[in-house]
Amino acid sequence: MSGTIICAVDNSGSAGAAVQVARRLAERFGARILLVGFAGGFAARGGNGDGLSAGQARADATRQMERIAGPDDLSLVEQRVAEGDEPAEALAVIAAEEAADLIVVGARRGLFGRTLRTAFAQELAETAPCPVVVAPPEAAGVVVGRLVAERLRQE
């Protein structure tokens, strides 16, 4: 093992793209992947978390990560939940605690307007203690399609 790659998993369709890019980089570098899900303000902002208790939000975040990881992928078993109303800041704090070498997030393209879809990534890119890779949704192809369909079903 040499290094830690944090992969952000939110409830938009871009998480699949982020995981795919993180996996590719982790393989090349022999790094570990730490999935980070979001509870609190971010979940609410994403459109699914309104009115959730903190416990429910955490459980949702965990479920989201488990869904992304699948039952068999041992490279995605390390998981943490970022809490609070400032997701970029919470993620930056976790990155610092874990001495992460890289953060991978999805670009959320296509689900929001141009400003919203890049706002989180941009905020992170300004505050993170390590480089941030922003994966375009196209990188995930089928995975993204599946997640978007899933999201639409939930709504």
């Binding site: 093992m1 040499s2 290094g3 890019v21 090349r28 570098f29 022999g30 790094a31 001495a99 070498d101 890289l102 991978v104 670009a107 393209r109 141009r114 400003t115 879809r117 890049t118 990534a121 941009q122 992170l124 890119a125 300004e126 505050t127 993170a128 203690p129 390590c130 480089p131 941030v132 890779v133 922003v134 994966a135 375009p136 196209e138 990188a139």
Partner: protein, 206 residues
């Protein structure tokens, strides 16, 4: 746009060269790094060089400049001037940052637009850029290069935040930024080999 119409021809020319003898690195998707003379641009270049080395990818260092056609200058003359300045800037940055065997190229136009264009032409694996840090208001009004790229790039974008840049900065200057409008001519200025690279833990391996 001129870039769009010339894109195919340029790509074909490159592809045919990529079939030549020196192909082990070139046939794989390259990393594209946008640099300027600022500390942030240089930090991005260093991170990109280390990644390219570890991933065994070719590195294409790109400087995008906008050239004002002012004071009676023709657009062509302004473009030439921009290219010359860009070339000398790239030569300096590559030498001073020890970027190793990196192709480099000067592009005229808007930074995010041209970087995304180059990434597409070269079928890049990743675009690496720096970030100037908290400029929320400015970014909201004008859009920053990194946020525009995130929204439009054909491949993943690696942004080196100022906080991360500080840890791998050994100095660096705050550089001038050019303004105004330019065409879309590109130029490639050779291959350079250089020795040492800087290292951070992630890229040092086990």
């Amino acid at each position: 746009m001129e870039a769009a119409t010339h894109g195919t021809a340029v790509f074909e020319a490159r592809s045919s060269r990529a079939m030549g003898p020196k192909t082990s690195v070139r046939t794989r998707k390259p990393l594209v790094c946008g640099v300027d003379d600022s500390a942030y641009g240089r930090a991005a270049a260093r991170v990109a060089a280390r990644l390219a080395e570890r991933l065994r990818r070719a590195l294409l260092v790109v400087h995008v400049t906008r050239v004002p056609a002012a004071f009676g200058d023709s657009a062509a003359a302004a473009g030439e001037r921009g290219l010359r300045r860009g070339e000398s800037l790239l030569a300096t940055v590559i030498a001073e940052e020890g970027l190793g065997p990196a192709d480099h190229r000067v592009e005229l136009g808007a930074a995010a637009d041209r970087l995304a264009g180059v990434a597409e032409e070269e079928d890049a694996e990743l675009i690496v850029v720096g970030s100037r840090g908290r400029g929320a208001l400015r970014a909201a009004l004008l859009g920053s290069v990194s946020s525009q790229l995130i929204a439009s790039a054909p491949c993943p974008v690696l942004v080196v935040p100022p906080g991360a840049a500080a840890t791998c900065l050994s100095g660096g200057r705050t550089g001038a930024r050019s303004t105004g409008n330019g065409g879309s001519r590109r130029q490639k200025i050779g291959l350079r080999k250089q020795g040492a690279t800087h290292h951070r833990p992630f890229l040092e391996g086990a």
